[in-house]
Protein backbone atom coordinates (compact mmCIF):
# COMPACT_ATOMS: atom_id res chain seq x y z
CA UNK A 1 0.00 0.00 0.00
CA UNK A 2 1.28 3.44 -0.85
CA UNK A 3 1.55 5.82 2.06
CA UNK A 4 2.36 9.49 2.03
CA UNK A 5 4.76 10.46 4.75
CA UNK A 6 5.78 14.05 5.30
CA UNK A 7 9.47 13.24 4.90
CA UNK A 8 8.97 11.07 1.80
CA UNK A 9 9.84 7.77 3.46
CA UNK A 10 8.11 4.50 2.64
CA UNK A 11 6.07 2.81 5.39
CA UNK A 12 8.86 0.40 6.32
CA UNK A 13 11.71 2.87 6.05
CA UNK A 14 13.51 3.98 9.21
CA UNK A 15 15.01 7.41 9.71
CA UNK A 16 18.80 7.68 9.36
CA UNK A 17 20.48 5.96 12.31
CA UNK A 18 23.65 7.07 14.03
CA UNK A 19 25.42 5.50 16.96
CA UNK A 20 28.68 6.48 18.58
CA UNK A 21 30.26 4.95 21.63
CA UNK A 22 32.59 6.30 24.27
CA UNK A 23 31.42 9.89 23.85
CA UNK A 24 31.81 10.87 27.52
CA UNK A 25 35.16 11.02 29.23
CA UNK A 26 34.31 10.31 32.87
CA UNK A 27 31.58 7.69 32.44
CA UNK A 28 32.47 3.99 32.59
CA UNK A 29 30.53 3.54 29.39
CA UNK A 30 28.57 5.91 27.20
CA UNK A 31 26.84 6.09 23.85
CA UNK A 32 24.77 8.46 21.82
CA UNK A 33 22.04 7.15 19.56
CA UNK A 34 19.99 9.11 17.10
CA UNK A 35 17.13 8.23 14.79
CA UNK A 36 16.45 11.21 12.57
CA UNK A 37 16.02 14.19 14.88
CA UNK A 38 15.47 12.11 18.01
CA UNK A 39 18.73 11.90 19.91
CA UNK A 40 19.53 10.35 23.27
CA UNK A 41 22.76 10.25 25.26
CA UNK A 42 23.31 7.37 27.68
CA UNK A 43 25.99 7.01 30.35
CA UNK A 44 26.73 4.00 32.54
CA UNK A 45 28.41 4.16 35.94
CA UNK A 46 29.17 1.02 37.84
CA UNK A 47 29.01 -1.60 39.13
CA UNK A 48 29.18 0.34 42.39
CA UNK A 49 29.14 -1.39 45.80
CA UNK A 50 25.83 -2.03 47.56
CA UNK A 51 22.22 -2.10 46.45
CA UNK A 52 19.37 0.25 47.21
CA UNK A 53 16.63 -0.44 49.74
CA UNK A 54 13.99 -3.00 48.72
CA UNK A 55 16.32 -4.53 46.12
CA UNK A 56 17.59 -8.09 46.23
CA UNK A 57 21.22 -7.95 47.48
CA UNK A 58 21.91 -11.38 46.01
CA UNK A 59 21.67 -9.92 42.53
CA UNK A 60 23.11 -6.94 40.74
CA UNK A 61 20.80 -3.96 40.84
CA UNK A 62 20.09 -1.70 37.86
CA UNK A 63 19.19 1.91 38.39
CA UNK A 64 17.90 4.15 35.61
CA UNK A 65 17.89 7.94 35.85
CA UNK A 66 15.97 9.72 33.12
CA UNK A 67 16.74 13.37 32.39
CA UNK A 68 14.42 15.35 30.17
CA UNK A 69 15.65 17.94 27.70
CA UNK A 70 14.39 20.65 30.03
CA UNK A 71 12.19 20.93 33.07
CA UNK A 72 11.22 18.58 35.86
CA UNK A 73 10.60 14.86 35.69
CA UNK A 74 6.90 14.03 35.57
CA UNK A 75 4.87 10.82 35.57
CA UNK A 76 5.85 9.96 32.01
CA UNK A 77 9.55 10.06 32.91
CA UNK A 78 8.95 7.92 36.00
CA UNK A 79 7.19 5.38 33.79
CA UNK A 80 10.04 5.42 31.27
CA UNK A 81 12.53 4.85 34.09
CA UNK A 82 10.58 1.83 35.31
CA UNK A 83 10.15 0.33 31.83
CA UNK A 84 13.80 0.86 30.95
CA UNK A 85 14.95 -0.59 34.27
CA UNK A 86 12.91 -3.77 33.82
CA UNK A 87 13.94 -4.08 30.19
CA UNK A 88 17.64 -3.78 31.00
CA UNK A 89 17.29 -6.13 33.97
CA UNK A 90 16.08 -8.80 31.59
CA UNK A 91 19.14 -8.55 29.31
CA UNK A 92 21.85 -8.14 31.98
CA UNK A 93 23.45 -11.11 33.70
CA UNK A 94 22.51 -10.11 37.24
CA UNK A 95 24.21 -12.96 39.07
CA UNK A 96 27.79 -12.04 38.16
CA UNK A 97 28.23 -9.06 40.49
CA UNK A 98 25.81 -9.52 43.39
CA UNK A 99 25.19 -6.63 45.78
CA UNK A 100 26.23 -3.95 43.30
CA UNK A 101 24.37 -1.16 41.59
CA UNK A 102 24.85 -0.11 37.98
CA UNK A 103 23.46 3.32 37.15
CA UNK A 104 22.32 4.19 33.65
CA UNK A 105 21.71 7.86 33.03
CA UNK A 106 19.62 8.76 30.01
CA UNK A 107 19.80 12.34 28.80
CA UNK A 108 17.29 13.29 26.13
CA UNK A 109 18.98 15.61 23.64
CA UNK A 110 16.02 16.03 21.31
CA UNK A 111 12.63 14.32 21.12
CA UNK A 112 11.07 13.88 17.70
CA UNK A 113 9.05 10.71 18.26
CA UNK A 114 10.01 7.13 19.19
CA UNK A 115 11.81 8.41 22.29
CA UNK A 116 11.64 5.26 24.42
CA UNK A 117 12.92 2.91 21.67
CA UNK A 118 15.75 5.34 21.03
CA UNK A 119 16.63 5.35 24.74
CA UNK A 120 16.60 1.52 24.90
CA UNK A 121 19.00 1.33 21.96
CA UNK A 122 21.27 3.99 23.47
CA UNK A 123 21.29 2.28 26.87
CA UNK A 124 22.18 -1.03 25.23
CA UNK A 125 25.12 0.48 23.37
CA UNK A 126 26.30 2.22 26.55
CA UNK A 127 26.11 -1.01 28.58
CA UNK A 128 28.20 -2.75 25.94
CA UNK A 129 30.68 0.12 26.03
CA UNK A 130 30.97 -0.20 29.81
CA UNK A 131 31.58 -3.93 29.51
CA UNK A 132 28.60 -4.92 31.68
CA UNK A 133 27.91 -8.64 31.11
CA UNK A 134 24.79 -9.03 28.93
CA UNK A 135 22.90 -12.13 27.84
CA UNK A 136 22.07 -10.51 24.52
CA UNK A 137 21.33 -7.06 23.22
CA UNK A 138 17.89 -5.54 23.04
CA UNK A 139 16.68 -3.63 20.00
CA UNK A 140 13.66 -1.38 20.13
CA UNK A 141 11.34 -0.02 17.47
CA UNK A 142 8.23 2.12 17.31
CA UNK A 143 5.39 0.91 15.03
CA UNK A 144 2.50 3.16 14.30
CA UNK A 145 -0.97 2.13 13.05
CA UNK A 146 -2.74 4.46 10.62
CA UNK A 147 -6.49 4.63 10.06
CA UNK A 148 -6.52 2.24 7.10
CA UNK A 149 -4.96 -0.45 9.31
CA UNK A 150 -1.51 -0.25 7.72
CA UNK A 151 1.64 -0.05 9.80
CA UNK A 152 4.39 2.55 9.59
CA UNK A 153 7.77 2.21 11.24
CA UNK A 154 9.74 4.72 13.28
CA UNK A 155 7.27 7.64 13.25
CA UNK A 156 8.22 11.24 13.92
CA UNK A 157 6.56 13.16 16.74
CA UNK A 158 3.95 14.60 14.35
CA UNK A 159 3.08 11.17 12.95
CA UNK A 160 2.84 9.72 16.48
CA UNK A 161 0.28 12.39 17.41
CA UNK A 162 -1.81 12.06 14.26
CA UNK A 163 -2.04 8.28 14.00
CA UNK A 164 -4.73 6.35 15.83
CA UNK A 165 -2.32 4.11 17.72
CA UNK A 166 1.33 3.24 18.14
CA UNK A 167 3.35 0.57 19.91
CA UNK A 168 6.85 0.62 21.35
CA UNK A 169 8.31 -2.86 21.00
CA UNK A 170 11.61 -4.28 22.29
CA UNK A 171 12.99 -7.56 20.96
CA UNK A 172 16.20 -9.47 21.75
CA UNK A 173 18.72 -9.42 18.93
CA UNK A 174 19.69 -12.57 17.07
CA UNK A 175 22.65 -14.06 18.91
CA UNK A 176 25.39 -15.65 16.91
CA UNK A 177 25.37 -19.25 17.93
CA UNK A 178 27.23 -22.41 16.97
CA UNK A 179 24.11 -24.50 17.58
CA UNK A 180 21.85 -25.24 14.65
CA UNK A 181 18.88 -22.93 14.20
CA UNK A 182 16.44 -25.59 15.32
CA UNK A 183 18.21 -26.01 18.68
CA UNK A 184 17.65 -22.39 19.66
CA UNK A 185 13.91 -22.38 18.95
CA UNK A 186 11.59 -21.60 21.86
CA UNK A 187 8.12 -23.11 21.33
CA UNK A 188 8.79 -23.36 17.60
CA UNK A 189 9.72 -19.69 17.31
CA UNK A 190 13.23 -18.21 17.23
CA UNK A 191 14.23 -16.48 20.43
CA UNK A 192 14.52 -13.08 18.79
CA UNK A 193 10.77 -13.20 18.06
CA UNK A 194 9.88 -12.97 21.77
CA UNK A 195 8.74 -9.59 23.03
CA UNK A 196 10.78 -8.16 25.94
CA UNK A 197 8.76 -5.00 26.28
CA UNK A 198 5.56 -3.73 24.73
CA UNK A 199 3.88 -0.38 25.41
CA UNK A 200 0.93 0.78 23.35
CA UNK A 201 -1.01 4.01 23.06
CA UNK A 202 -4.36 4.41 21.34
CA UNK A 203 -6.95 1.79 20.41
CA UNK A 204 -6.32 -0.75 17.66
CA UNK A 205 -7.64 -4.15 16.63
CA UNK A 206 -5.77 -7.18 17.95
CA UNK A 207 -4.83 -8.15 14.38
CA UNK A 208 -3.30 -4.73 13.83
CA UNK A 209 -1.13 -5.27 16.89
CA UNK A 210 0.01 -8.64 15.57
CA UNK A 211 0.88 -6.95 12.28
CA UNK A 212 2.94 -4.44 14.27
CA UNK A 213 4.79 -7.33 15.90
CA UNK A 214 5.58 -8.87 12.53
CA UNK A 215 6.82 -5.61 10.98
CA UNK A 216 8.69 -4.72 14.15
CA UNK A 217 10.56 -8.02 14.11
CA UNK A 218 11.62 -7.58 10.51
CA UNK A 219 12.86 -4.06 11.25
CA UNK A 220 14.69 -5.00 14.45
CA UNK A 221 16.67 -7.63 12.55
CA UNK A 222 18.08 -4.76 10.46
CA UNK A 223 18.54 -2.58 13.53
CA UNK A 224 20.37 -5.35 15.32
CA UNK A 225 22.77 -5.72 12.36
CA UNK A 226 23.39 -1.98 12.47
CA UNK A 227 24.01 -2.06 16.22
CA UNK A 228 26.40 -4.98 15.93
CA UNK A 229 28.30 -3.33 13.06
CA UNK A 230 28.65 -0.02 14.82
CA UNK A 231 29.80 -1.69 18.04
CA UNK A 232 32.39 -3.82 16.23
CA UNK A 233 33.80 -1.04 14.07
CA UNK A 234 34.60 1.13 17.08
CA UNK A 235 36.80 -1.38 18.88
CA UNK A 236 40.38 -0.19 18.37
CA UNK A 237 42.27 -2.71 16.25
CA UNK A 238 45.03 -3.12 18.87
CA UNK A 239 42.52 -4.44 21.42
CA UNK A 240 41.24 -7.03 19.02
CA UNK A 241 44.71 -8.42 18.39
CA UNK A 242 45.67 -8.62 22.04
CA UNK A 243 42.39 -10.33 22.94
Amino acid sequence: MEVDRADGRTANQLRPLACSRNVLNRAHGSASWSQGDTKVLAAVYGPKAGTKKNENPEKACIEVIWRTKSGQNGKAEKEYEMILKRTLQSICVLTVYPNTTTSIIIQVVHDDGALLPCAVNAACAALTDAGIPLKHLAVAICCCVADGGYVMLDPTMLEEQNMKAFAYLVFPNATMCVLSDAATLVDGEPKEHGVITSVTHGAMAVDEYLLCLERGRAATAKLSDFLRRSLQSQVPSGQLESA
Binding site: K78, E79, R86, L88, D187, G194, T197, S198, A203, L210
Partner: protein, 302 residues
Protein backbone atom coordinates in the same frame (compact mmCIF):
# COMPACT_ATOMS: atom_id res chain seq x y z
CA UNK B 1 10.19 -33.08 37.93
CA UNK B 2 13.83 -32.13 37.86
CA UNK B 3 14.63 -31.07 41.39
CA UNK B 4 18.37 -31.42 41.53
CA UNK B 5 19.31 -29.76 44.81
CA UNK B 6 18.58 -30.18 48.48
CA UNK B 7 15.20 -28.48 48.31
CA UNK B 8 13.63 -31.48 46.64
CA UNK B 9 14.73 -33.82 49.42
CA UNK B 10 13.82 -31.43 52.19
CA UNK B 11 10.34 -30.67 50.91
CA UNK B 12 8.81 -33.92 52.13
CA UNK B 13 9.75 -33.34 55.75
CA UNK B 14 9.68 -29.56 56.03
CA UNK B 15 6.77 -27.52 57.30
CA UNK B 16 4.78 -26.08 54.41
CA UNK B 17 5.12 -22.50 55.65
CA UNK B 18 8.86 -22.82 56.05
CA UNK B 19 9.19 -24.29 52.57
CA UNK B 20 7.11 -21.44 51.16
CA UNK B 21 9.44 -18.87 52.75
CA UNK B 22 12.72 -20.58 51.93
CA UNK B 23 11.99 -21.74 48.39
CA UNK B 24 9.17 -19.50 47.17
CA UNK B 25 9.73 -20.21 43.49
CA UNK B 26 9.83 -23.99 43.99
CA UNK B 27 6.73 -23.76 46.18
CA UNK B 28 4.80 -22.07 43.38
CA UNK B 29 6.16 -24.36 40.67
CA UNK B 30 5.02 -27.40 42.66
CA UNK B 31 1.50 -25.99 42.62
CA UNK B 32 1.64 -25.06 38.95
CA UNK B 33 2.67 -28.59 38.03
CA UNK B 34 -0.66 -29.69 39.54
CA UNK B 35 -2.48 -26.90 37.61
CA UNK B 36 -3.50 -25.11 40.78
CA UNK B 37 -2.44 -21.95 42.62
CA UNK B 38 -1.57 -21.74 46.36
CA UNK B 39 -4.91 -20.01 47.04
CA UNK B 40 -6.86 -22.79 45.32
CA UNK B 41 -7.54 -21.01 42.03
CA UNK B 42 -7.01 -22.59 38.61
CA UNK B 43 -4.03 -21.16 36.70
CA UNK B 44 -6.14 -18.95 34.42
CA UNK B 45 -8.73 -17.93 37.01
CA UNK B 46 -9.18 -14.48 38.53
CA UNK B 47 -9.97 -13.81 42.16
CA UNK B 48 -13.46 -12.94 43.43
CA UNK B 49 -14.34 -9.43 42.37
CA UNK B 50 -16.82 -7.12 44.01
CA UNK B 51 -17.88 -3.59 43.30
CA UNK B 52 -19.85 -1.08 45.38
CA UNK B 53 -20.95 2.26 43.99
CA UNK B 54 -21.38 5.45 45.99
CA UNK B 55 -18.89 4.65 48.73
CA UNK B 56 -17.94 8.31 49.31
CA UNK B 57 -20.94 10.54 50.08
CA UNK B 58 -19.16 13.86 49.62
CA UNK B 59 -18.01 13.17 46.05
CA UNK B 60 -20.00 13.42 42.83
CA UNK B 61 -19.31 9.81 41.93
CA UNK B 62 -17.43 7.05 43.70
CA UNK B 63 -16.82 3.34 43.79
CA UNK B 64 -15.04 0.72 45.87
CA UNK B 65 -13.59 -2.19 43.92
CA UNK B 66 -12.12 -5.36 45.37
CA UNK B 67 -10.27 -8.03 43.43
CA UNK B 68 -9.36 -10.65 45.99
CA UNK B 69 -7.88 -8.50 48.75
CA UNK B 70 -6.64 -5.75 46.43
CA UNK B 71 -8.90 -2.80 47.30
CA UNK B 72 -9.28 0.47 45.42
CA UNK B 73 -11.43 3.46 46.28
CA UNK B 74 -12.12 5.87 43.44
CA UNK B 75 -13.92 9.20 43.70
CA UNK B 76 -14.73 11.93 41.19
CA UNK B 77 -15.01 15.59 42.12
CA UNK B 78 -16.33 18.06 39.56
CA UNK B 79 -15.23 21.67 39.41
CA UNK B 80 -16.03 24.43 36.95
CA UNK B 81 -13.08 25.87 35.04
CA UNK B 82 -12.41 28.04 32.04
CA UNK B 83 -11.63 25.76 29.10
CA UNK B 84 -8.26 25.96 27.39
CA UNK B 85 -8.11 28.30 24.41
CA UNK B 86 -7.04 25.41 22.09
CA UNK B 87 -10.16 23.41 22.93
CA UNK B 88 -12.95 25.80 23.98
CA UNK B 89 -15.62 23.09 23.56
CA UNK B 90 -14.01 20.54 25.85
CA UNK B 91 -13.71 19.83 29.53
CA UNK B 92 -10.82 18.10 31.19
CA UNK B 93 -10.11 15.08 33.35
CA UNK B 94 -7.22 14.75 35.80
CA UNK B 95 -6.39 11.29 37.12
CA UNK B 96 -4.37 10.74 40.29
CA UNK B 97 -3.39 7.44 41.86
CA UNK B 98 -2.38 7.38 45.52
CA UNK B 99 -0.62 4.65 47.45
CA UNK B 100 -0.71 5.58 51.16
CA UNK B 101 1.52 3.61 53.57
CA UNK B 102 -1.43 1.51 54.79
CA UNK B 103 -1.66 -0.30 51.46
CA UNK B 104 1.53 -2.33 51.60
CA UNK B 105 4.54 -2.98 53.86
CA UNK B 106 6.79 -1.85 50.99
CA UNK B 107 5.46 1.72 51.11
CA UNK B 108 7.08 3.80 53.84
CA UNK B 109 5.55 6.99 55.22
CA UNK B 110 7.06 10.15 53.78
CA UNK B 111 8.43 8.47 50.71
CA UNK B 112 6.09 8.13 47.73
CA UNK B 113 5.72 4.63 46.29
CA UNK B 114 7.58 4.01 43.02
CA UNK B 115 4.59 2.24 41.51
CA UNK B 116 2.09 5.08 42.06
CA UNK B 117 3.09 7.49 39.24
CA UNK B 118 3.47 4.56 36.84
CA UNK B 119 -0.05 3.25 37.51
CA UNK B 120 -1.41 6.82 37.27
CA UNK B 121 0.21 7.29 33.87
CA UNK B 122 -1.03 3.88 32.69
CA UNK B 123 -4.58 4.69 33.82
CA UNK B 124 -4.50 8.04 32.09
CA UNK B 125 -3.20 6.51 28.85
CA UNK B 126 -5.81 3.73 28.92
CA UNK B 127 -8.77 6.00 29.67
CA UNK B 128 -7.68 8.52 27.02
CA UNK B 129 -6.82 5.82 24.42
CA UNK B 130 -10.17 4.08 24.81
CA UNK B 131 -12.05 7.32 24.09
CA UNK B 132 -14.44 6.31 26.88
CA UNK B 133 -15.23 9.89 27.85
CA UNK B 134 -16.27 12.39 25.24
CA UNK B 135 -14.66 15.54 26.62
CA UNK B 136 -17.20 17.65 24.70
CA UNK B 137 -19.86 16.39 27.13
CA UNK B 138 -18.02 18.18 29.92
CA UNK B 139 -18.53 21.56 28.26
CA UNK B 140 -21.03 23.95 29.89
CA UNK B 141 -20.80 27.26 28.02
CA UNK B 142 -18.58 27.16 24.95
CA UNK B 143 -15.29 28.95 25.58
CA UNK B 144 -16.50 30.20 28.97
CA UNK B 145 -17.06 27.31 31.31
CA UNK B 146 -16.43 23.58 31.34
CA UNK B 147 -16.14 20.82 33.89
CA UNK B 148 -12.85 19.71 35.30
CA UNK B 149 -13.22 16.16 36.59
CA UNK B 150 -10.74 15.20 39.31
CA UNK B 151 -10.58 11.42 39.48
CA UNK B 152 -8.65 10.24 42.53
CA UNK B 153 -7.98 6.59 43.17
CA UNK B 154 -6.75 5.42 46.56
CA UNK B 155 -5.15 2.05 46.97
CA UNK B 156 -6.25 0.67 50.36
CA UNK B 157 -4.71 -2.76 50.02
CA UNK B 158 -2.07 -3.60 47.40
CA UNK B 159 -2.16 -7.33 46.80
CA UNK B 160 -1.24 -7.59 43.14
CA UNK B 161 -2.96 -6.58 39.89
CA UNK B 162 -3.09 -2.95 41.01
CA UNK B 163 -3.82 -1.61 37.56
CA UNK B 164 -6.81 -3.92 36.99
CA UNK B 165 -8.46 -2.95 40.26
CA UNK B 166 -7.68 0.74 39.75
CA UNK B 167 -9.16 0.73 36.25
CA UNK B 168 -12.28 -1.12 37.44
CA UNK B 169 -12.85 1.36 40.28
CA UNK B 170 -12.20 4.34 37.98
CA UNK B 171 -14.67 3.10 35.37
CA UNK B 172 -17.26 2.37 38.06
CA UNK B 173 -16.84 5.79 39.68
CA UNK B 174 -17.28 7.48 36.30
CA UNK B 175 -20.44 5.49 35.59
CA UNK B 176 -21.78 6.42 39.03
CA UNK B 177 -21.00 10.10 38.40
CA UNK B 178 -23.88 12.57 38.73
CA UNK B 179 -22.88 15.99 37.47
CA UNK B 180 -24.09 18.72 39.86
CA UNK B 181 -26.68 21.16 38.53
CA UNK B 182 -25.39 24.61 37.78
CA UNK B 183 -26.99 27.80 36.53
CA UNK B 184 -25.77 31.19 35.34
CA UNK B 185 -26.16 34.18 37.61
CA UNK B 186 -26.65 37.80 36.53
CA UNK B 187 -22.93 38.37 35.94
CA UNK B 188 -22.81 35.36 33.62
CA UNK B 189 -20.89 33.32 36.17
CA UNK B 190 -21.59 29.68 36.83
CA UNK B 191 -23.04 28.87 40.25
CA UNK B 192 -23.90 25.47 41.68
CA UNK B 193 -27.61 24.95 42.37
CA UNK B 194 -27.96 23.25 45.73
CA UNK B 195 -30.06 20.09 45.72
CA UNK B 196 -32.63 21.42 48.21
CA UNK B 197 -32.21 25.00 46.96
CA UNK B 198 -35.66 26.60 47.29
CA UNK B 199 -34.19 30.09 47.22
CA UNK B 200 -32.76 29.91 43.69
CA UNK B 201 -35.56 28.22 41.81
CA UNK B 202 -35.94 31.22 39.49
CA UNK B 203 -32.75 30.40 37.57
CA UNK B 204 -32.96 27.66 34.99
CA UNK B 205 -30.09 25.15 35.34
CA UNK B 206 -27.89 25.05 32.22
CA UNK B 207 -27.32 21.33 32.39
CA UNK B 208 -30.73 19.98 33.32
CA UNK B 209 -30.58 16.94 31.00
CA UNK B 210 -26.86 16.32 30.97
CA UNK B 211 -26.50 14.90 34.46
CA UNK B 212 -24.80 11.67 33.49
CA UNK B 213 -21.81 10.99 31.27
CA UNK B 214 -22.38 8.85 28.23
CA UNK B 215 -19.60 6.26 28.48
CA UNK B 216 -18.76 4.38 25.30
CA UNK B 217 -16.13 1.67 24.78
CA UNK B 218 -15.51 1.05 28.47
CA UNK B 219 -12.09 -0.58 28.90
CA UNK B 220 -11.37 -3.51 31.21
CA UNK B 221 -8.03 -5.13 31.84
CA UNK B 222 -6.39 -8.32 33.03
CA UNK B 223 -2.86 -8.70 34.31
CA UNK B 224 -1.11 -12.02 33.77
CA UNK B 225 2.19 -13.36 35.05
CA UNK B 226 4.27 -15.40 32.62
CA UNK B 227 6.42 -18.16 34.03
CA UNK B 228 7.91 -21.09 32.13
CA UNK B 229 5.04 -21.48 29.69
CA UNK B 230 2.38 -20.97 32.34
CA UNK B 231 0.08 -17.95 32.18
CA UNK B 232 -1.19 -17.03 35.64
CA UNK B 233 -4.16 -14.68 35.48
CA UNK B 234 -4.70 -11.99 38.13
CA UNK B 235 -1.57 -12.53 40.27
CA UNK B 236 -1.30 -11.73 43.96
CA UNK B 237 1.53 -9.50 45.22
CA UNK B 238 3.50 -12.61 46.22
CA UNK B 239 3.22 -14.12 42.74
CA UNK B 240 4.14 -10.80 41.15
CA UNK B 241 7.30 -10.49 43.20
CA UNK B 242 8.46 -14.08 42.72
CA UNK B 243 7.73 -14.43 39.00
CA UNK B 244 8.62 -11.06 37.58
CA UNK B 245 7.14 -11.04 34.07
CA UNK B 246 3.86 -9.12 33.93
CA UNK B 247 1.62 -8.59 30.91
CA UNK B 248 -1.39 -6.30 31.19
CA UNK B 249 -3.94 -6.39 28.39
CA UNK B 250 -6.79 -3.88 28.25
CA UNK B 251 -9.69 -4.37 25.85
CA UNK B 252 -12.72 -2.18 25.37
CA UNK B 253 -16.30 -3.36 24.89
CA UNK B 254 -15.87 -3.64 21.11
CA UNK B 255 -12.79 -5.88 21.61
CA UNK B 256 -10.36 -3.20 20.45
CA UNK B 257 -6.93 -3.44 22.04
CA UNK B 258 -6.50 -0.36 24.22
CA UNK B 259 -3.24 -1.35 25.86
CA UNK B 260 -0.80 -4.23 25.74
CA UNK B 261 1.69 -3.46 28.42
CA UNK B 262 4.69 -5.62 29.15
CA UNK B 263 7.47 -3.78 30.95
CA UNK B 264 10.44 -6.10 30.51
CA UNK B 265 10.79 -9.17 32.70
CA UNK B 266 12.87 -12.34 32.31
CA UNK B 267 10.35 -14.27 30.15
CA UNK B 268 9.99 -13.41 26.47
CA UNK B 269 6.41 -13.23 25.22
CA UNK B 270 5.92 -15.01 21.92
CA UNK B 271 2.97 -14.37 19.66
CA UNK B 272 1.06 -17.44 20.83
CA UNK B 273 1.42 -16.40 24.48
CA UNK B 274 0.23 -12.88 23.72
CA UNK B 275 -2.77 -14.31 21.86
CA UNK B 276 -3.58 -16.48 24.90
CA UNK B 277 -3.37 -13.42 27.17
CA UNK B 278 -5.78 -11.56 24.89
CA UNK B 279 -8.19 -14.53 24.97
CA UNK B 280 -8.08 -14.64 28.78
CA UNK B 281 -8.73 -10.89 28.86
CA UNK B 282 -11.76 -11.29 26.56
CA UNK B 283 -13.28 -13.78 29.01
CA UNK B 284 -12.46 -11.56 31.97
CA UNK B 285 -13.96 -8.52 30.23
CA UNK B 286 -17.31 -10.30 29.95
CA UNK B 287 -17.19 -11.09 33.69
CA UNK B 288 -16.30 -7.53 34.63
CA UNK B 289 -19.00 -6.06 32.38
CA UNK B 290 -21.53 -8.21 34.21
CA UNK B 291 -20.20 -7.13 37.62
CA UNK B 292 -20.39 -3.46 36.62
CA UNK B 293 -23.92 -3.83 35.20
CA UNK B 294 -25.07 -5.55 38.42
CA UNK B 295 -23.54 -2.83 40.58
CA UNK B 296 -25.29 -0.15 38.54
CA UNK B 297 -28.68 -1.90 38.66
CA UNK B 298 -28.31 -2.42 42.46
CA UNK B 299 -27.66 1.29 42.77
CA UNK B 300 -30.73 2.23 40.71
CA UNK B 301 -32.98 0.06 42.89
CA UNK B 302 -32.00 1.87 46.08
Amino acid sequence: MGLPDAAGDLSSEMEVDAFRRLFPLRFHERHLAESIRPDGRPVGGARDTSLALGAVGSSDGSALAKIGSTTMLAAVKMEVMTPLSESPEEGCIAIEFHMPPICSPLVRPGRPADAAPVVAKQLNDTIVSSGMINLKELSLVSGKAAWMAYLDIYCLDADGALFDAALLSAVAALSHLRIPQVSLNDDGRVVVVSEEGEEKIDREPVNKEKRKLNLTNIPFSLTCVLHKGYILADPTAEEESIMGTLVTVALDSSDQLVSLYKPGGPVLAHTSVLKDCVELTKKRTVELQKILAEAISDMDLE
